[in-house]
Assembly symmetry: C2
Homo-oligomer: 357 residues x 2
């Protein structure tokens, strides 16, 4: 049954898989000074969207490996539960966790380096289907650049990984050195759901009461970065930069392009560094992953949304394995995609973007 579905579907590139750091995993890659720091002071970050107690590690209930490691923390189990049965030709690992967002920038840097070395040793060199994002201490661009330059040459790293709830909108100058390094190393910049934003509330009117709100409102953080990256002229400054919005959905993007283009027509004198319509930059420089895919009440409306986006060439399938809101490759789309769109979304776009062969 699974094999049939897989065969009908063709190859899948899963653009959002989470590998988890198990307890002690980073110790071999941390200097004694930072191991000691972790033991004494631990992680110090601003908490973001806290996952519900009933879903520890935000995981599917069936995703806890028998080995006792956390969900996403056991490669053999990941192969058996996800990569093999779902026919994943390539999977992009986005290792979440507190490494990149530590308030102590040097500790953040040391943790990111350890995460990256651990990813090489425990994932990329053990499983040829996997690729990964370079973890970086993203609130300090100079330190982030060091990690990018350190790991960009390893063929397993295919993007630079940022988290969407940053301290400032991502178009601002404090982040530009990251884009310079990503462009120079020919790596897309992935921006993933989550993060603590150094205490900035997730809505324009403060903190919501419920997790379901936090989870829904996260799309707004993506919207703000799209607006910021475009309006600050980041794509004029770094014309080779490619940005991937991961786990933000995408059905909100057409209306944002329309709104921004409309305002730009009347306000372009404020942003004379923009040489083209805002939506032109978005269409050229931005990719989106599908999960959590929006589910129109009339499933055929999703085809209209793809049309509003200008086509399917920037949309890439993702599951979010092993998290609770996983999208199944066979069921995520409730409408029959035209064959060419299907091939692009499930594999072609990601292969082209990430250089997968």
């Amino acid at each position: 049954m699974v094999a049939t579905a897989r065969k009908n579907r063709g190859p899948v590139v899963d653009c959002d898989i989470h590998n988890a750091v198990w307890p002690g995993a980073l110790d071999p890659y941390l200097a004694k000074r930072w191991r000691r720091h972790g033991q004494l002071f631990g992680s110090r970050t601003h908490p973001g969207s806290l996952y519900p107690k009933g879903s520890p590690a935000a995981a599917r209930h069936d995703a806890w490996p028998p080995s006792g490691r956390p969900p996403g923390g056991d490669l053999e189990f990941m192969r058996k539960q996800h990569l093999d049965p779902e026919g994943i030709e390539y999977g992009i690992l986005n290792c979440l966790g507190p490494a990149g967002t530590q308030l102590n920038a040097e500790y953040s840097s040391a943790l990111c380096r350890a995460v990256n070395e651990w990813q090489i040793a425990e994932w990329l060199e053990k499983e040829p289907r996997l690729r990964a994002g370079v973890a970086v201490p993203y609130e300090d661009a100079e330190l982030a650049v060091k990690e990018i330059d350190r790991f960009a040459d390893h063929p397993g790293f295919v993007q630079v990984l940022l988290i969407v709830r940053t301290a400032e909108p991502l178009g601002r100058r404090k982040y530009w050195k990251i884009y310079e390094a990503a462009e120079r190393n020919n790596l897309p910049v992935g921006i993933h759901f989550g993060g603590g934003a150094r205490g900035v509330p997730i809505t324009a009117s403060g903190w919501p009461s419920y997790y379901i709100e936090d989870h829904t409102d996260m799309a707004q953080a993506f919207q703000a970065h799209v607006v910021s990256l475009v309006c600050e002229g980041v794509f004029e400054r770094f014309p080779g930069l490619r940005v991937v919005l991961i786990e933000g959905g995408f059905a909100w993007l057409p209306s944002l392009m329309w709104r921004l283009d409309k305002h730009w027509k009347r306000l372009k004198e404020e942003v004379p560094h923009l040489k083209r319509r805002p939506s032109d930059y978005i269409r050229e420089h931005m990719w989106v992953t599908t999960q959590p895919i929006e589910e129109p009440h009339n499933p055929r409306h999703l085809l209209q949304v793809l049309d509003h986006l200008g086509g399917s060439d920037r949309v890439m399938f993702s599951t979010d394995y092993p998290h609770w809101d996983y999208d199944d490759p066979d069921r995520a789309f409730r409408v029959r995609l035209p064959e060419e769109d299907r091939r692009r979304i499930f594999a072609g776009n990601a292969k082209a973007l990430y250089g997968l062969r």
Copy 2:
């Protein structure tokens, strides 16, 4: 030419006109104690989205009345420039300004009362086409209720007016007494673009650099309130409550309904007070005004957006006169609307909602 356009178009209800308080206008309606307070201490609020220097009062350059009053501050000029030539059958006044958002709650209360009395004397009793929203000190629900109950009986007041950048998401309990009073008085609650949110940044990742960003990101504040009002169960608690989203656009609403419904299916145990799908509450209890209307690259896609919304019965035309980003009734829709939709959007929906005859 204008007359022809108007005739072809039929009657228009403009759901967003801004009347402006001219210097000294409120003095006759303020107790000496508060006039003195204003002279000595002035307005103390958190600034929100600051309008560009080149557009004082955020106004169209041609909207400055010869009388020297601010744009929107001269009824006779408003009649000549807007109400008469555009064939406005009814216009809903949303008086912006610092009255409702003063940090000093009692001063806020006094200013709102003065604004409301001034609106009766200078606008509602002088021009039968105009209706208004009750200004309220919205961060203190008990004081807001006093203003609602004081003015609700006047036939010129047709809604309670809030600003979108509040200190907390509007579903939270601190605002519930406002909804109880609005429901009891059979007044919709309008939520208008703007405000300072007591210092909360407008994005989930801090402050953007440009006005065009602020202006575009404001849609996110509306999104957060939709999510909050639904998830907190406000519409279960106040089943007669009607909410109008003013100057937030609307093309983003379908994707938000889809996203929220999808999350609710898996997270409904967190919000057991919800008896129906989130989108069911939105469809039943929420209205939107059109300006700044999103302009799809292919104008026909706007008809698909209306379809995604579930129809045109909650969409109400607005111009935002006299502000710079005014939508012209003859040019706002770049696609020919089916006749029934046109009549609803330009007049019927607003007449039904606000009880205009």
